[in-house]
């Protein structure tokens, strides 16, 4: 698709007036989606989709139009010509854009992954044979994802990845289950089998009689996925320059009142070490690393292109939403083998569910335990617990109640398939937290 996109871009640039700036963005996928329930196929299919967005900037005015591509060059060239003509007709009707911004510095990049994916039928054979005797639920999503950018200043960027994401759960009974996943670019049967075996081992524990715990404060271990779920929600309104300026950030008390997290907490947007796309839709390129929180103190914000003009800052490649796409929390010192002995007595939470702010100004989040959540007693796993609701501020979780972060992080690749398959990821350690509050 890269060459096809550049042909369409060249065609669009030929149609531009001398004083036009054109920005073109393409996104698409060719993906298999196979949904499973009871270790059988519930629904499966293949989706091919490709969208082109053309942005016309004329003087200080700006307008955009997106459309689906047929991937037939003559027809799509006609669509491009029609779009450019319509944008020209409309742009004069608009006021000047006070926050007009696009990258004037030409920085072309290319990031193309190899296609070493297994055939979908072969992957399903392996998955469903391995799951025999288990109540497996989940989705296997695999195929090509691409993003591209080009402008008539000469910049070209291309991102192409061939990946799979098998996101699954093994169920025992009702809501007692274990969640796992296997993502990658090439299928490693041993690695996959290891994930299945590990999930089955945890499922055995889920078969024990569950405990119902009372509301109150508990010492907990938040496994990387559970910690990632919390940070994912915080990320929606924490690190953006606009939120910081407007005082709408959930970390207002760090920004404006000097509140600090635990000095062991450092949070990065680590594009260099992540799997997300490096360029954004106005042509700005993300640096390898942006430090969002350093040693517990708020640091640099994520600055999108429009905020950069509005707030007189430098754009650091953030998207319009100004959220981290490759969020990393640096590790601590607690070794994996020491997690349960260190926790001693408390709750071991692998996953959390349906998290939302319950008080944004205090970075307080509510949500629920889900999947493998265990009660640990005297350094031993005792039993699974029934679902509990928590309501706790991140100033406690990552602040004074944080006892330890694990030395090992887990790379969590997004299984989000909203609109199309996503590329974001997190690199997150687990954490032991004291007095984590459960309410219901």
């Amino acid at each position: 698709m890269r060459d096809y996109f550049y042909k369409l871009a060249d065609h669009a640039f030929q149609l531009a007036d001398a004083d036009d700036i054109l920005l073109l963005n393409i996104r698409g996928e060719l993906s298999d989606f196979v949904r499973m329930n009871n270790a059988r196929i519930r629904q499966g299919g293949k989706v091919e989709q490709s969208y082109l967005e053309i942005t016309l900037i004329n003087g200080r005015k700006r307008i955009s139009h997106s459309f689906s591509l047929l991937q037939s060059l003559d027809i799509d060239k006609t669509q491009v010509a029609s779009a450019v003509e319509n944008l020209h007709a409309k742009v004069s009707l608009l006021p000047e854009d006070a926050y007009l911004s696009y990258s004037r510095h030409i920085h072309s990049t290319e990031d193309i992954g190899k296609n070493e994916l297994p055939d979908t039928q072969a992957a399903m054979d392996r998955i469903l044979h391995s799951a025999e005797g288990n109540d497996l639920v989940g989705i296997y999503a695999a195929g090509l994802i691409y993003r591209g950018f080009a402008n008539n200043l000469g910049q070209k960027n291309w991102y192409e990845s061939h990946s799979f994401n098998f996101d699954f759960s093994l169920y025992h009974h009702q809501d007692k289950a274990v969640k796992s996943g296997y993502t990658g670019f090439t299928w490693d049967q041993n690695l996959f089998q290891g994930k299945m075996d590990q999930a089955r081992a945890q499922l055995e524990i889920m078969k024990r009689d569950p405990l119902t715990i009372s509301p109150g404060a508990y010492r907990v271990y938040l496994a990387p996925k559970a910690m990632g779920d919390l940070v994912d929600v915080l990320n929606r309104r924490a690190f953006g320059a606009r939120d910081r300026h407007n005082k709408t950030s959930s970390l207002n008390r760090m920004i404006y009142e000097g509140k600090r997290l635990n000095p062991g907490v450092t949070i990065l947007e680590n594009t260099g070490g992540g799997s997300a796309c490096r360029f954004q839709s106005d042509g700005f390129i993300k640096p390898d690393e942006i430090t969002l929180v350093q040693d517990g103190t708020i640091k640099d914000p994520l600055v999108g292109s429009r905020s950069a003009v509005e707030l007189n800052m430098e754009c650091n490649g953030a998207s319009a939403e100004e959220t981290a796409d490759s969020l990393e929390i640096l590790p601590g010192k607690l070794r994996t083998k020491d997690i349960i002995p260190t926790l001693d007595t408390g709750l071991y939470l692998n996953n959390l569910h349906y998290i939302n702010f319950s008080d944004v100004n205090s970075a307080r989040l509510t949500g629920l335990t889900r999947f493998a959540a265990f009660h640990i007693k005297n350094g031993e796993i005792e039993a699974p617990i029934n679902v509990m609701r928590f309501d706790e501020t991140m100033y406690n979780v990552l602040g004074e109640n944080l006892e330890a972060l694990t030395a090992e992080q887990e790379l969590l690749v997004s299984s989000n398939t909203q609109l199309c398959r996503h590329t974001e990821c997190q690199n997150i350690p687990g954490a032991i937290v004291n007095d984590f509050r459960f309410t219901l």
Partner: protein
């Protein structure tokens, strides 16, 4: 390779049917315009046009789909081949015996419900309207962020089957959104319209009455300012009176999702979750008090998710899901009904051409009662009136919920008194609904909905409609924000 018209696509599809028991072609065309004014500055206007289709094939016990935006002979041929490949894979590992499912063959046309077509209004008029509203939100220096978004979507769906069905449905949706944030120190509070629960409807420009919208923005800005100076909502067991907007999300999360039959059958267990509702509960389970009457109602043409057929061709009609508090029927499509034996509705919906239909809510309403707003306030000795959803969370079985609202007002000895910020409440679905004490009359009933209901693997965020009156619940666990 040539671009195909709908007519050509239909004929090529019917002339080149694969060797299968049943095939359908679902063609969707969508046009969107987004006008967004943030702090009185017009963001770049964005329009979207897309066209694509999904071919679904049923052969023996299997089903498969192929979807593409390549509207050409080659695109159609490839989509059919992809659907057949997946159908064969499904035949090897079938969860459902699709040979037992009888699909309908609807025909006809549903025209879009609109008085003033969106496209008949100039871009200048639309942007100027949004800008004026935005300017009315900036009433104080304490207003730190404010936005107005006007989104319009025009959708045409054509559903063609290998067994004679051919139906076209057209829809015009308007999604107005307004929000305003007020700040004092590190405390910021929001008032909004349409951010989570909205006044979105089917219709055109006529839905945006300037007088009504101006009044809304002026109230929103003043209430945001009131909130930054307000005390936290008190804690304790008390009565809560929920406005129609908050009732939307209460119905959505604690009634709608648990009644989805695909959840009950376990399809969603890896993502959205399961349900505390089990098949044997239908017909006898007391979900709520006698005042609780929940309907699936696609018949109000202007409500957000009204339609004549669902995305698998089933004819949509009004049905009671819960009648006088007793669970009668589930939210399940033809496929889910066949799998479960539970009576259902026509609710197989796909967000667009590139995602397969699954059980969704469509319009899920709470029928109005007989109590006036003043009657309900007068019945409360100590409680909170909560307006406009801000936060929502519920467990994977749809039992333990917690909701937060933007605006709260104390009710003391039968009278509305002072404003409180961060009003939250939590409970357990069954217990909560059985504590439904009074249901508001038609004057408190509003037709609304949410544009963002998420579910499904692959993920689909779809709009659903809700219409509810204000309601009074007793013995609710209420609390406020963090004590600083």
């Amino acid at each position: 390779m040539d671009y195909m018209t709908d007519h050509q696509l239909k004929h090529w599809f019917l002339d080149n049917l694969p060797d299968a028991d049943f095939c359908s072609l679902r063609l969707t065309e969508e046009k969107k315009e987004l006008i967004h004014v943030r702090k009185n500055v017009l963001e770049p206007v964005n329009t979207v046009e897309e066209r694509g289709f999904m071919v679904t094939v049923v052969q023996g016990k299997g089903m498969g789909y192929g979807a593409t935006c390549d509207i050409s002979e080659v695109g159609l041929k490839t989509a059919v081949a992809n659907a057949m490949d997946h159908c064969r894979l499904n035949q090897k590992y079938p969860l459902i015996d699709f040979s037992r499912i009888g699909f309908s063959n609807p025909s006809g046309e549903r025209k879009r419900y609109v008085k003033t077509p969106w496209e008949s209004v100039s871009l200048e008029e639309k942007t100027s309207f949004a800008k004026k509203l935005s300017e009315n939100l900036q009433v104080s220096d304490q207003i730190v962020d404010w936005q107005v978004i006007l989104e319009h979507k025009l959708v045409t769906n054509r559903y063609i089957t290998s067994t004679g069905g051919d139906m076209v449905q057209a829809f015009s949706y308007v999604f107005p959104k307004i929000f305003v944030m007020a700040n004092k120190g590190a405390e910021t509070q929001r008032r909004s319209l349409g951010w989570i629960i909205s006044d979105s409807r089917q219709g055109g420009w006529e839905l945006l009455s300037e007088d009504k919208m101006r009044h809304t923005v002026s109230v929103a800005a003043e209430e945001a300012l009131e909130l930054v100076d307000a005390p936290n909502c008190p804690s304790g067991k008390m009565d809560v009176l929920l406005d129609s907007g908050q009732m939307n999300i209460q119905v959505h999360e604690s009634v709608g999702h648990p009644l989805e039959i695909d959840r009950i059958l376990g399809d969603e267990r890896n993502f959205a979750g399961t349900s505390f509702v089990t098949p044997e509960m239908f017909g006898s389970y007391r979900y709520g008090s006698d005042l609780m009457n929940i309907t699936f109602d696609p018949t109000r043409p202007y409500q957000l998710a009204s339609y004549e057929i669902d995305d698998e061709g089933a004819i949509a009609d009004k049905s009671y899901l819960i009648e006088n508090g007793i669970l009668r029927r589930g939210l399940g499509s033809v496929i889910s009904q066949a799998r479960s034996g539970i009576p259902g509705v026509a609710n197989a919906r796909a967000v667009r051409w590139n995602r397969p239909p699954i059980d969704r809510m469509a319009n899920l309403n709470l029928e109005s009662g007989t109590s006036s707003f003043n009657d309900m306030v007068a019945a409360i000795e100590r409680g909170i009136y909560m307006q406009t959803n801000l936060s929502w969370s519920i467990d994977d079985s749809r039992n333990k919920f917690q909701f937060g609202c933007e605006f709260g007002r104390l009710i003391e000895n039968g009278r509305l008194t002072s404003v409180v910020k961060n009003p939250n409440y939590r409970g357990i679905s069954g217990i909560f609904w059985r504590n439904l004490k009074m249901v508001g009359n038609e004057d408190t009933f509003h037709v609304m909905g949410t544009p963002n209901c998420g579910k499904g693997e692959p993920n689909q965020t779809i709009h659903v409609g809700h219409a509810t009156p204000a309601c009074l619940f007793t013995d609710v666990d209420v609390f406020g924000g963090e004590n600083q």
